[in-house]
Symmetry: C2
Subunit: 507 residues, 2 copies
Amino acid sequence: ISDLGPWLYGRAVALWVFGRSDPRQAVFAAKAGLALAIVSLLVFVDDHPFFREDLGKHYVWAILTVVVVFEFSIGATFSKGLNRGIGTLLAGGLALGCAELSTLTGKLEEVFLVISIFVAGSVATYLKLYPTLKPYEYGFRVFLITFCYVMVSGYRTNEFIETATSRFFLIALGAAVGIGVNILIYPIWAGEDLHNLVVKNFMGVAKSLEGCVNGYLICMEYERIPSKILLYQAHEDNLYSGYRSAVQSTSQEDSLLGFAEWEPPHGKYKMFNYPWKSYIRVSGALRHCAFMVMALHGCILSEIQAPPEYRQIFSAELHRVGIAGAKVLRELGDKVKTMTKLTSIDILAEVHAAAEELQKKIDQKSYLLVNAESWEVSKQGNDTTKDGTSDVIASSKPILREKSLHELRSVKGSMMNTSYSRFDSSSTMDMTFRLSLWPGRKSFHPADPIPSEQESKTYESASALSLATFASLLIEFVARLQNIVDAFEELSVKAEFKDPVIEPGEE
Amino acid sequence: ISDLGPWLYGRAVALWVFGRSDPRQAVFAAKAGLALAIVSLLVFVDDHPFFREDLGKHYVWAILTVVVVFEFSIGATFSKGLNRGIGTLLAGGLALGCAELSTLTGKLEEVFLVISIFVAGSVATYLKLYPTLKPYEYGFRVFLITFCYVMVSGYRTNEFIETATSRFFLIALGAAVGIGVNILIYPIWAGEDLHNLVVKNFMGVAKSLEGCVNGYLICMEYERIPSKILLYQAHEDNLYSGYRSAVQSTSQEDSLLGFAEWEPPHGKYKMFNYPWKSYIRVSGALRHCAFMVMALHGCILSEIQAPPEYRQIFSAELHRVGIAGAKVLRELGDKVKTMTKLTSIDILAEVHAAAEELQKKIDQKSYLLVNAESWEVSKQGNDTTKDGTSDVIASSKPILREKSLHELRSVKGSMMNTSYSRFDSSSTMDMTFRLSLWPGRKSFHPADPIPSEQESKTYESASALSLATFASLLIEFVARLQNIVDAFEELSVKAEFKDPVIEPGEE
């Protein structure tokens, strides 16, 4: 019990920090309390005959409706409220019809009652599982509750109509209070959230892209790759979290879209049928690019790594593409944020020029990317390259990396640990445990510690090709940017984004 | 109205087909109807004094509980039932405490009532937004409803304790009926669904991998890339749907995991604390591989394509890796399905051997992957390769492809449309509309239809490097397989999978 004090204090601090991070949550909580308090005030109205009779029995419906309808965003509140209203109306109507029928059945009234509840329960439950009706799941639930309730209490009191109407009246009251408080006081819009989410995704992917390119150039290595990355779980890693949250946000976007479509025009979104779907399309196009960033990150995670000297040679070009690509993403994200159309200047000009330059550089230096020694062609030229890169070739070696899950046998490492001391010598302990290694695992047996020359050459060529892969993926990323621009232009026309302020000197 | 008949018929057929696809849904619907019918039977018990008094007023709680608690899987039913029970208990206790306090306040009873509802409403709403408490969201809702209801009806009748206890009794009754029917008749387990989902993901990724490798080798092309792929939406495409559903299933897995952890040992899962989390880990490792398949698919979608003649040269090796990789995935999926441990034979031996062979082949033929002409080294060797591939080089040209969203200017096409007639001539119509093209868009103006020699060489080298990228990605995919095997071994130990039947002749 002596631990309870600090524990409670810790919780309280966590809640306070949580509240500070997004003040809307605290405001929303206060609104919910207010709406409940307002509804509970009705309990004091006890001189009106209509109220007096019903409140005792059905008062709970008003409270229940407020609790259920009071969702975080306006769109969610509307959609739940409407589901509830329609479900109640339909159920009430159907129950009244069944009540009329049940009076005709005479003595079989009890049997009819149970059978009709069974049939209604089965049909409504079946329908709500049907994919296209899933969004109305809540309406089906309300339908079931109301139907059963009206049927059952009607049987006891024979007041079907009164039960249905008073229930509907109190639900309408609860919904009015809930929706009124939620909209009139500091409304929270799902559309706004969707808008911000798309902007955040742009910034996240830009950050990941920049991080991946820069990380690749400084030959960043993971001492141990966090197993969360290998298992695609959430993880605080600068390169990883940005693209992961963009890729993972699909379901969040879908639910926000479902709510945003219910919201009336408001604030910056002054239009009926606001094109929220186009925001999703922009985000989808961004995701298509984010997959390439993911693959770039894969090159950093990979076991086979290009030698740093080679990376240096392409450093300027890779860097330029990375900077320009991230700049385009940030600029597009900013345009989405400020709801501005693109200028007449081609936003992709710089990144395309940078990618082309990278492509040309690869073209010129492509002999670095392959293992020319193994070619069956004359090799005398290799010794006298014009720009003195032959010494680079001679000095560079493929680099292997230690991994947490699949450690490489350090056979190669022993060949070069004079120059590369990245191998964590402590991990050789579990080497006997993990003999299943790759690549080259078949020929690198402990009994045969020195790999054949051919094996080691295969390594070298793989390591150089990995640089080519990185560059190709980066170029493919640039190619996919057009996609985002197209989706953005569609959005900016449909959503009537404002024209950019044209700076002097522009056409 | 004449359209209504066919429309209804069409809906009915769709529902029937839906029911046939997974009979569990229809069974579940019938179970729900049954549970409601059983609860409604209680309305006929009217000679017991306890029932008689309460049923009229609070009967609705039993119905409400059944409707709310009756979830598709056993785990979801338990978790909702428990949330409901604890929420009701806590709220009842707190409301009784508040009631005691309110009698002390004397004349201020009304004020105290409203304030306590406001405070409880705000605090509960705030807490339920806190991330770690999100799973208990439903419990907080029930808490709020019960608290307000007990407070309000207690005020009117001054029977706080009776309201709270009868409510709890009826909720327990409803929960017992709901849970009883759901478990005793044809139970549907979330754990089973999770298990099957993981197996399905394995098969989907294997199908995508095979499809991508085979598609790449037969130079499959999309006439127009479906915009759904470019926007990462669901789409029926053999290569795409397999890995997409594996990547997209995270949220489904998480919710199934949340339910499966509530389920008691049953069927094949005879263990307390069954390691459902390890299934998620296996699925995460599979997803990490699926991203590479995604990148392979990106090579097929890409604008810059390797010439078919080059692909033919690596055809056997690429094919072997694709087959072996898909076989490993299917085998692992099958082991998960049948809950069998791995045999002592290394499951990855063949795929590693295949990947190594591919790597060697790339190494030998790497001159095909780069544009040797642009090298600043002696080139006389290129004319006399031993295996006669020089004619292949001479005859091959980079291939461009028509795209729906970013069509390439057919300037290059006009240079080679004698041999490649893939360009859809109708699409030249909107060429004036889409002048923003890439790559080479700056230099390929309509006024200057013939590209400079340098531009076209840059193309050629990019197109050959795209083959190297495909191969590197495939090799990285193979490297990531170890990850899945490790995760699977962890699962197979923790979940006590059965030992494989060792065939004769094996050690």
